[in-house]
Amino acid sequence: GQQVMQIPQYQHVQEGEDFTTYCNSSTTLSNIQWYKQRPGGHPVFLIQLVKSGEVKKQKRLTFQFGEAKKNSSLHITATQTTDVGTYFCAAPSSGGYSTLTFGKGTMLLVSP
């Protein structure tokens, strides 16, 4: 079935450093979504990308969808301690149902 590979699994940065997580698929995706889960919390939707080569920004977060629509990235500029959490990408499952397949997530730790 559909798989989305997410790297890295874990990253520890100093506050102020940049951070990037990558999501890759072997198949073309119709769209990709990103979620953030704070420690002890539940996943919260951040954004959806639909178009080839699309770039969207939310303050210090920049989301990109690859030209081939097989990969995506989330980049955080000048991390803050409030960015701590696990970031998941999610793509439509290949089974034809209205379900998403989530990547395993990238856990981000930010030291002050």
């Binding site: 769209n31 539940h42 919260v44 939707f45 089974g95 149902y97 209205s98």
Partner: protein, 114 residues
């Protein structure tokens, strides 16, 4: 309006007992999803409802887990004869349906089987 709610927030049960976990989706959301998340792990898809029907049950790991949904709204996930491996956070999410719509997650139920 209210978000997705789940109850109980925490449940401790003895091995072998049955448990029921409840999810109240956002009003008007036709799609409902159950996931399981073990400590420090990703989201394991369990089952998907569209209205009252469950077209995708592919994620249910064993026949001890089942789920139902009434009136296209509240859903209950039942785990029979709980095992220690069932210990996890069970998350429910709802959406307007379709993979182009974001999922809204509830706070989860933390299940501990002793």
């Amino acid at each position: 309006g209210a978000g997705v709610s789940q109850s109980p927030s925490n449940k401790v049960t003895e091995k072998g007992k049955d448990v029921e976990l409840r999810c109240d989706p956002i009003s008007g959301h036709t799609a409902l999803y159950w996931y399981r998340q073990s400590l420090g792990q990703g989201l394991e898809f369990l089952i998907y409802f569209q209205g009252n029907s469950a077209p995708d049950k592919s994620g249910l790991p064993s026949d001890r887990l089942s789920a139902g949904r009434t009136a296209g709204s509240v859903s209950t996930l039942t785990i029979q004869r709980t095992q220690q491996e069932d210990s996890a956070v069970y998350l429910c999410a709802s959406s307007l349906g379709g993979t182009a719509n974001e999922q809204y997650f509830g706070p989860g139920t933390r299940l501990t089987v002793t």
